[in-house]
């Protein structure tokens, strides 16, 4: 059910405190520039090189970008976020580099400082710009390389840096680690829930997320109830339980690999055929699409997004739900990491159809849906809040235009961002997790 706004408020204040911290870098400006340039140079593969060659600077990508649409500031044009990469390509990788070096400026520390805001605060790597681009340029892929470069140069929002480091070094996020996860499960067991943990053999490994422990505990409870309802042989793992991967969001491949490896090892240890990630948008593409590359071999298990899993179980007849009825009008927000990037668009609608809700879609929706502004770790960046709230005004209008009274989504980042917008704009419509909605309407 809708989250307790007081708890949400307290969590957001905790994140805001983090944003006030100063974390000095050990790198000199020169070292920052050199390391960033190296990462950009190495990150330009054939696709990015072709993309940089193909761009005609039409700027149509701006019309797909929620940050540009909200701010109308040309600096938020998606392809401009690859400007430094283009300069690097022209000066160092292009066949005409001898010519370009005469008039294309080298990358400086001032450039990097300016680009930190562009690739973190005002881009959620939602990939909508790649849908409108007549050339089909993979701007999100380029931004991911830029993020990796900024990360190695210690130029990233302090909140993302701290949380990323914490996950890489301690295995905790916001102080929540294995111990707190197991404690949470123990508390839930006291309510009578049967919760398998560290089973030696299981068909399904279910992941959680830090947000489910500190904010959306109802979703965690619903997940457990659903798994028990379908009678699956499933388990949590005290070692590989966390879906969130701040390495993916910050652009640090070592961090990303370490977080994915914990899940991989846990799944292999119990012989799981399926891993279900939490409703934590980015965790799906991180494991489903990037996991195999990180491990250097195809994954020995399938990876499912929660909505994908729910849809499949309903269609198979194993998951039976009670109709909610048509008394309230709902709309669904497609998380960009699960819909547009993940490719899971129909499954949540199968679930909502089974729940019998009165669903009105936003325009656009599905693959073309407008990002809420909180993805890619953006929901953590305190200084980006004003811009994020302007972006949320676009979402709010879309939601309002449907006439819906309640919003459903399937991503914790979206949930938190929508809640932040709800509080700031005094917007009265409750937002539900799809998993939680199902968990409360099991037949």
């Amino acid at each position: 059910m809708p989250v307790d706004m007081n708890v949400a408020q307290a969590f957001m204040e905790q994140v805001q405190e983090m944003g006030k911290m100063e974390v000095p870098s050990k790198l000199s400006d020169q070292e920052r520039v050199e390391t960033a340039k190296q990462v950009i140079r190495d990150g330009i593969n054939a696709q990015l090189a072709i993309d940089l060659e193909a761009c005609v600077h039409c700027g149509l990508c701006a019309e797909a970008c929620h940050f540009y649409l909200a701010s109308k500031d040309p600096k938020h044009t998606p392809i401009r976020k690859l400007d430094l990469m283009k300069r690097m390509y022209r000066r160092e990788r292009s066949p005409a580099r001898w010519l370009y070096r005469l008039f294309v400026k080298d990358v400086t520390i001032d450039d990097l400082n300016e680009w930190e805001e562009l690739v973190y605060d005002s881009c959620t790597v939602c990939m909508r710009c790649s849908l409108i681009c007549p050339m089909g340029i993979n701007i999100g892929g380029g931004v991911a390389v830029m993020r990796a470069a900024m990360r190695t140069a210690d130029l990233m929002p302090v909140e993302m840096r701290l949380v990323g480091q914490e996950q890489a070094e301690k295995g905790t996020i916001f102080g929540v680690g294995s111990e707190q996860f197991v404690q949470t499960l123990e508390e839930l067991r006291k309510t009578g829930l049967k919760i398998p943990l560290d089973e030696p053999e299981a068909d399904i490994l279910v992941l959680s997320a830090v947000t489910d422990i500190v904010l959306f505990k109802d979703t965690l409870v619903s997940t457990i109830k659903i798994m028990n309802h379908i009678g699956a042989k499933w388990t949590f793992s005290s070692q590989g339980y966390e879906s969130a991967n701040f390495g993916y969001m910050t652009g640090d491949q070592e961090w990303q690999c370490a977080a994915s490896k914990r899940v991989y090892d846990a799944a292999v240890a119990c012989g799981a055929k399926t891993v279900i990630v939490a409703e934590c948008g980015h965790s799906y593409p991180t494991l489903r699409w990037a996991g195999a590359e990180l491990m250097g071999k195809p994954l020995p298990f399938e990876v499912l997004a929660p909505s994908e899993f729910l849809g499949r179980e309903i269609q198979a007849g194993r998951l039976k739900v009670k109709p909610i009825g048509k008394q309230a009008k709902f709309t669904f927000h497609d998380p960009c990491k699960i819909g547009r990037i993940g490719g899971v668009v129909d499954a949540p609608r199968v679930v909502l159809d089974a729940l019998g809700v009165d669903l009105t879609e936003t325009e656009p929706h599905g693959v073309e849906n407008l990002c809420c502004g909180g993805g890619g770790g953006n929901f953590l960046i305190t200084r980006a809040l004003p811009l994020r709230l302007k972006v949320f005004e676009l979402k709010m209008k879309q939601f309002d235009d449907t006439g819906a009274e309640e919003v459903v989504t399937s991503c914790d980042s979206c949930m938190m961002n929508i809640m932040a917008g709800t509080m700031a704009h005094q917007w009265p419509k409750p937002t539900h997790s799809l998993m939680d909605l199902v968990g409360h309407h099991l037949a």
């Binding site: 054939a46 090189a49 060659e53 849908l131 409108i132 993979n138 699409w289 693959v367």
Partner: protein, 215 residues
């Protein structure tokens, strides 16, 4: 005049054509040689089919986007289709291809059609160029190279129209000279999108299709 004509139709033509061919092939080859890692994840759809689909589907913008970029789409089509028709169906061009490149020709469009198509192409080019100059986004993105490309194409088209009457050899030679400058400039500019668009669309289409998304 005859010396200039001999130079433009002889050594300078071969030089500009060589720069164009070697430049385009070299630039494409170098970019493609950087390689891409093969995805190890289990695909949800065919990447090859997605690549082919994207090359063609991107000719038509998605409905929601089209509402926002209607003018650019119409102007873009007017210019590009117009230029393509002029380039390959204007009688003097077909004659040129027959004599200097291919050794054979094909049916050409009548003079009235040339004039209509030229006007459409000019209108498209001017709208796109004005947008580049006036729209805050494209103005910020555009560099000198983009404007040089637009100006060169404008004058190539203008001199081509002026030379249509075939009254003055000098006009034909100016048109030929500018077209050759364009050929030399081509591989060093964003005009390369004429060829790279196939690859960039293919890459993005393959990536999305691998994830099960039609893009």
């Amino acid at each position: 005049m005859e010396t200039i004509a001999a130079f433009l139709e002889g050594p300078f033509w071969y030089f500009s054509a060589a720069v164009f061919v070697v430049g385009v092939v070299g630039r494409l080859a170098l970019a493609l040689s950087l390689g891409s890692s093969k995805s190890l994840s289990v695909p949800r759809g065919s990447a090859s089919a997605g690549a082919v689909r994207a090359v063609f589907s991107r000719f038509v913008p998605r409905r929601d986007f089209y509402r926002r970029i209607r003018l650019e789409v119409i102007a873009g089509y007017a210019f590009h289709v117009g230029l393509f028709v002029l380039l390959f169906f204007a009688a003097p061009h077909v004659e040129f291809y027959k004599e200097y490149i291919l050794g054979f020709g094909w049916p050409t469009m009548p003079r009235w059609a040339f004039i209509v198509v030229s006007e459409i192409a000019f209108a498209g080019l001017i709208v796109l160029w004005l947008r580049r100059l006036l729209h805050p986004v494209s103005r910020k993105l555009s560099d000198a190279g983009d404007h040089i490309g637009s100006i060169l194409i404008f004058f190539v088209m203008l001199t081509g129209c002026l030379a249509l009457g075939e009254d003055h050899e000098s006009l034909r030679l100016i048109h030929l000279f500018l077209a050759q400058l364009l050929l030399i400039y081509f591989p060093f500019s964003s005009l390369m999108h004429t060829f790279t668009f196939v690859f960039s669309r293919g890459y993005i289409g393959a990536g999305f299709a691998h994830h099960g998304v039609k893009a």
